[in-house]
């Protein structure tokens, strides 16, 4: 288990429920990202101004592009999903780019990606039922004919698995290849795989995760 996240410290035994659990690199890096995003959010609403500064420009651009993306791929009636999608995008982007700062990306851990994709999975079914009504929603599974019911159910259950494994596999593959490159030539050469695996694949996988969440949720609602 060379590439499993390192355990930094263990929670003492006397803590109820969590006693004895190891706190891994994934969790500590996630704490760093939480602090970073909280401070960024807190600070960027403090400096709001009529004439936007550089930070406000970037934040406004991000918010607007998320809203445009949501409106164009989910439909204008589902603009309420924009904050969730923006949060998802910010967290996954920060997590994927953590590899640039010599941290292990939290998304290279199946626990993180599974948690994220289960949020999407639950929203798919919750909002599907809310929009269509529970009985109508479950009748959809038996269409076009009842024989196809098991296939539809397996298809629905595979959604969170494929979502989470896509992100996890991409990031873990990046981590392993980076490790091998660092073992091979630890000078100058690792810049190239950093650009590809952290910057390019990180941004692309963020976009894909958010986009697929949007598509799945809006498919279940329409």
């Amino acid at each position: 288990m060379e590439f499993a996240p390192k355990i930094h410290f263990t929670i003492p035994e006397w803590v109820p429920l969590l006693g004895g659990t190891g706190v891994t690199e994934t969790v500590t890096t996630t704490w760093l990202i939480m602090i970073l995003l909280t401070v960024l959010g807190w600070y960027s609403i403090r400096v709001l101004d009529e004439i936007p500064g550089p930070l406000q420009n970037v934040v406004e651009m991000f918010v607007e592009s998320i809203q445009n993306l949501t409106a164009s791929s989910m439909g204008p009636d589902k603009l309420g999903f924009a904050p969730y999608m923006g949060t998802l995008a910010l967290y996954i982007l920060a997590a994927n780019l953590a590899g640039l700062f010599a941290l292990r990306p939290p998304t290279a851990d199946l626990n993180t990606t599974m948690a994220l994709s289960f949020i999407t999975f639950i929203s798919i079914h919750y909002y599907g039922m809310k929009r269509k009504g529970v009985t109508e929603y479950f009748k959809e599974f038996a269409r076009p004919m009842p024989l196809i019911l098991p296939l539809n159910i397996i298809g629905e259950l595979s959604t969170p698995i494929s979502l989470s494994f896509r992100l996890f596999g991409n990031m873990l593959g990046g981590v392993i290849i980076m490790y091998i490159v660092y073992q091979l030539i630890p000078f100058a050469l690792p810049v190239l795989p950093h650009i590809y695996f952290d910057l390019f694949a990180g941004v692309l996988q963020t976009f894909i995760f958010v986009m697929l969440s949007m598509v799945f949720i809006s498919l279940a609602m329409d």
Partner: protein
């Protein structure tokens, strides 16, 4: 027929000279390599998507943004099977469930 049996017997003797864990680890390494053959599929699929995307941009350059978004989405879905192969290979290499069966 007799010769064939002797060859098989010699091979069997040679293999049983190693302990069980070594054999399972060797077979897992070969299996991990074989699992990565799954990478062929996404390679072809993504190349096809990229080719069609380039064609579409050539025909309609003003719709480039939409085409790239759709293409990336399709490429990501095509990638899934390759990622499954990668996960199987990683499990065989780093979290091997077969070695534990020997204990």
């Amino acid at each position: 027929m007799q010769e064939g049996n002797e060859i098989i017997k010699a091979l069997f003797d040679w293999i049983s000279g190693y302990d069980k864990k070594t054999l399972v680890l060797a077979a897992s390494a070969i299996g991990a390599g074989l699992a990565m053959i799954a990478g062929i599929g996404p390679g072809i699929g993504q190349g096809y998507a990229a080719g069609k995307g380039a064609e579409a941009v050539g025909r309609q350059p003003e719709a480039q943004g939409d085409i790239i978004g759709t293409m990336l989405l399709g490429a990501a879905v095509a990638e899934t099977t390759g990622i499954y192969g990668l996960i199987v290979a990683l499990i065989l290499l780093f979290a091997n469930p077969l070695v534990r069966l020997l204990m």
